[in-house]
């Protein structure tokens, strides 16, 4: 049962407290995967998986249910929205800022063929803002990140790839 007093904005604010399990400084709204929220007899939350094999998808759904239950909402339906597919372009400005402060270079350029074939590299080192960087490994601790090294401050850092 949903009380009529719950608004879409309230639900969105609560969802904004649900962290991404792999990069907990980001909320799922920062990540841009909360597609829509409807409040009627029940609360319907549309979520987009970041990629099809993402092991975090089920964890995120459980976290959403738990967060809403904490606010007394039990009747929740989570719908997976595959289309259009999520892209890193949907990470919000605040999400990018949070990634940077956490030490992960946010995805630099818009996605698409160009990014895949050539220009996908971090704009700057998240620690010293130096632009002279080297890719150490295209594949990092999670599928979405690559490992880089800054040649100015010599520190290693991670880069959130454009996907």
């Amino acid at each position: 049962m949903v009380t009529a007093t719950v608004t879409v904005d309230e639900v969105r604010a609560w969802l904004d407290r649900v962290p991404d399990p792999e990069i907990p400084v980001l909320s799922i709204t920062d990540l841009g995967i909360v597609r829509d929220v409807h409040v009627s007899e029940r609360v319907v939350v549309g979520l987009s998986p970041t990629y099809t094999g993402c092991p975090a998808t089920e964890v995120i759904e459980q976290s959403v249910l738990r967060e809403l239950r904490r606010h007394g909402i039990d009747d929740v339906v989570i719908e997976r929205r595959l289309s259009p597919p999520w892209t890193t372009d949907w990470i919000t400005a605040r999400g990018r800022e949070r990634l940077l402060r956490y030490g992960i270079a946010p995805p630099a350029v818009a996605t698409g063929k160009h990014a895949l074939l050539a220009g996908d590299r971090p704009a700057a080192c998240p620690r010293c803002a130096g632009t002279d960087t080297d890719r150490v490994s295209e594949f990092g601790s999670t599928p979405c990140k690559a490992a880089y090294r800054c040649r100015d401050c010599l520190e290693p850092f991670e880069y959130f790839k454009c996907l």
Partner: protein, 252 residues
């Protein structure tokens, strides 16, 4: 064949390709030549398992007999699988796995690209999500294809051998049957004639860069679409299904 029946069979074929290749790639985990490849392969395998889940879940809904994704993965015998022969072939050495990846994924990317524009919204959604992943895999595999083909005498020889060995399994990509025809005509699926032309053109360009020659006029092997597989699939399925077969109905 009804449009509904064709769509169900088509989606199951996609699921079988994704699951069997994902399982083969999983066999390579901890066996890669360097850490970066270890991460790449495991991540790419995960994409395939994820795609298989989407296809099988959709197939279960289309079928409407109360089955779920696990049923299609774990409760069918190998003769019921309709994956292409190439994805069930053993991994071989690193270069051989790369050649298999390039041959299959060049086709699969074109297939998904066409499906992302098809008239079935659910399948189009899965394909639009999947094509982004496969494009990324293929870029990675293509770099290795060129590096090893245009590498040392030994790497070049092995790549040429693998290409000759695996080429015979590429013919069935384009052997459209009634299922392909109905999906093309009623659901707006891929036209295999144009897919074949594009596949050849892309591989030709890549082979030139890799200093490799594509086999010409070699005999092709097929049969997987009718459930006639190579001997390798049975072993793969037996291992993959072991837990489910030993403990029927097991859940996490």
């Amino acid at each position: 064949m009804s449009p509904e029946d064709a769509l169900l069979r088509y989606v199951l074929r996609l699921g079988d390709n994704a699951l069997v290749l994902g399982q083969r790639m999983t066999e390579r985990v901890t066996g890669e030549p360097e850490l970066e490849e270890e991460l790449a392969n495991a991540n790419f395998a995960l994409d395939y398992i994820g795609q298989a889940r989407l296809y099988y879940s959709y197939a279960a809904e289309l079928e409407g007999q109360g089955h779920d994704e696990d049923y299609f993965a774990y409760r069918r015998d190998s003769q019921a699988f309709r994956n292409f022969l190439i994805v069930e072939q053993p991994n071989g050495d690193f270069g051989n796995a790369i050649v298999r990846q390039v041959l299959f994924e060049t086709f699969y990317r074109l297939q998904l690209d066409a499906l992302s524009r098809c008239r079935d919204p659910r399948l189009a959604g899965i394909a639009a999500r999947g094509v982004k992943e496969i494009r990324y895999h293929l870029r990675h595999a293509s770099l290795w294809f060129v590096r090893l083909g245009d590498g040392t005498d030994e790497s070049h020889r092995r790549m040429a051998d693998s290409l000759a060995r695996l080429w015979r399994y590429t013919g069935e990509f384009f052997d459209g049957d009634a299922v392909d025809d109905v999906v093309r005509d009623t659901h707006g699926g891929p036209d295999l004639v144009s897919v074949e032309a594009e596949w050849h053109a892309e591989l030709e360009a890549l082979a030139v860069e890799a200093t490799l020659a594509l086999p010409q006029g070699a005999p092709m092997q097929s049969g997987a679409r009718d459930g006639r597989h190579s001997e390798h699939l049975g072993f793969l399925i037996a291992e993959m299904q072991h837990l489910h077969r030993a403990h029927p109905g097991v859940t996490w």
